[in-house]
Amino acid sequence: MGKYKLTYFNGPGRAEVIRLLFSAAKVEFEDHRFGFEQWPTIKQEMPFNQVPVLYIDGTPLCESGAIFRYLATEFGMNGANSLQAAYIEMVHGVLHDVYSKVPYMENDAKVKKEKTTEVHQEHILPALKKIEKKFSESKRQFLVGDKLSYADLKLMNSLILTEERAPEILPQLPNLCALRDRVRNLDGVKQYLASRPISKM
């Protein structure tokens, strides 16, 4: 095995920020993806019966937050000091909280569409407007500090989802959309986005 192996379902879920970190850092990793039918077997092999798991030289680490914060620090994408790291975690956490309300697993297409629009109006847009305001006032290139962080990767990925499912909110977020586009065109990220499997969720 190479230095890094990530094990997760064949979907974005709690692994996507991890995959984006590797891409942005241009660090190789084995992107092990499995289907739902394999989960009962794989679950028993995982240290705490959950995924994602990152194997670092064969030693397993679980809990997605632990994984992506570790990699972000290793790759220089976790701010310049502990206060910046805290703000990065805050922005990531807010984005995670509001986007996790989207009914990814809903099977009824009509219900899914209605609920997704509602979640965008009631939860996602209010949070993004607050971030947009602070970000435009800061006149910075990235959400926190002077460098790309995993909060920017999370934002980019979230807005790509919104492009597909609720694009009507995006005109209210011009600076965040510009940031999204800056990040999606970064070398490494660009190639990953072009080649990643399309998620059905």
Binding site: Y70, S82, A86, V94
Partner: protein
Amino acid sequence: MPHYKLSYFDIYGRGEMVRLLFAAAKVEFEDERFTREQWKETYKKTTPFGYCPVLYIDGAPLCESGAIVRLLASKFGFNGANTVEEAHIAMFNGALRTMYVRLPNFDVDEQLKEEKTRVVYKDHILPLLEKIEKKFSDKKAEFLVGEKMSYADLRLMQYLIITERYDASLLAPFPNLVALKDRCRNTDGLKQYLATSKICPF
């Protein structure tokens, strides 16, 4: 030292870890607690994103409990000696939270709540504690990660105290974790805080 104010509900919830960190570090802070009604009417609109807890550091707000916990843990020396230890501390903390958060704290029907609680312990919490007990006893160390107490130990202590209050017999298979819990609760700072702090159901 900056002025710290924690603003949260009058429960453990997502705020108690922050309080425990201040206690363990013996750092003073303003422990602002409000009711649900006060949250809706007054406090919610003053927060950065409409969520709590919020930590005000010299008046500057920081929200998201994980961000707050990790910042204070780093500042106060409860976040390991290097990034690998930080990751393992976050792993134990996260794994424990994932299981304990399943407890039906808000259920109104007492019988249903008791049944669900038993199931959560049996299917989720106890299997996890068994795995952690094994890893910890293999390690033969004082604390879960590295050589010093970390917020993972505080999290374990917090949750095992909750379990102890509910049904101490559930902890019988985990003597090393029980010993760790007791080691932490008797450290200077935590001992005093736990002796006087409000006991909450969750």
